[in-house]
Amino acid sequence: MSFKPLEQPAMRKHAEEIIERSLCTGDSIFVLSNFPFTVLKELKEQVQQTWMAGYGGQGRPLVNGLRGQTFELPWADEHPARTLWNRFVEMVGLSGMR
């Protein structure tokens, strides 16, 4: 675990490293961050490319790829926890859940 606050560019680099490591092991990672949304989007694209290119360059293309979902936490006045679920249903629809 790493709990040390990092400078912005180093933080981005660190994020890239831990993501790449998790790709190589298939492990799950849970990250608390305060990246601008554009940075998260760039990181996701980077992961997508690495993943699709064959698992960190190991040459095995993956047909399943990466599936991304972004949930914006609701505001306080709209039953937030339930609204989060409803947003998921609206986002993917019934066919997306099948």
Partner: protein, 194 residues
């Protein structure tokens, strides 16, 4: 969900093994095929009824038509989401990359929790724990603070608002307080320039 079982073969028993309970497996089965479980001679579209069930509440008569015993609680919603995400990831055991999809989940605007009521804080935090605790593979989950102007003390407040349990799942804390806080006047002046 069909992909999750590899060869596409699944049934309600497979779903029950996945969820460990009958109610959520019945809901998942209804999602897979709303027409199979719905009462015959329905005048309402079962898909529309199921969407109402998932996003709102149904009357007892409507539940009977869907073949479901009761409405979803908020906790049920997160457990259901957990199983749907699990299916999206792939339910086969092991770490065979060919049978899994990597999930990239972003929960943005984490600081909004500060304005929630204690009950809603708890529901959401426990909901996130439900999602985080469902497996040890193929998930990248971001809880992202969208406001770039928060200082370290405020970030600590946000973390405290989530309670303590969720942080046992935390692998990396990538937060960085800005060196200089921007004042409200500077933000207004900057907005005027654009």
């Amino acid at each position: 969900m069909e992909q999750a079982f590899g060869d596409g073969s699944y049934d309600e028993q497979a779903l029950q093994e996945l969820t460990g309970e009958t109610f959520l497996s019945a809901v998942l089965a209804a999602i897979v095929d709303p027409y199979a479980r719905a009462a015959s001679g329905l005048t309402v579209d079962p898909e529309a009824l199921l969407l109402a069930f998932l996003t709102d509440t149904c009357s007892t008569a409507e539940l009977r038509k869907l073949g479901l015993p009761h409405n979803l609680t908020t906790e049920d919603c997160f457990r259901l989401l957990r199983f749907i995400l699990k299916c999206q990831k792939g339910v086969l055991p092991g770490k065979d990359l060919a049978t899994h999809t990597r999930l990239w989940l972003v929960f943005d605007g984490a600081e909004r929790l500060l304005a929630y009521s204690p009950k809603e804080r708890s529901l959401l935090s426990n909901g996130l724990i439900t999602l985080l605790s469902f497996g040890s593979t193929f998930i990248t989950c971001w809880l992202n603070i969208a406001d770039p102007l928060l200082d370290e003390e405020e970030i600590t407040q946000i973390m405290e608002a989530y309670g303590t349990k969720i942080w046992q799942y935390l692998d990396y804390k990538l937060v960085d307080a800005p060196e200089e806080k921007i004042t409200a006047e500077e933000i207004i002046a900057h907005a005027g320039e654009e």
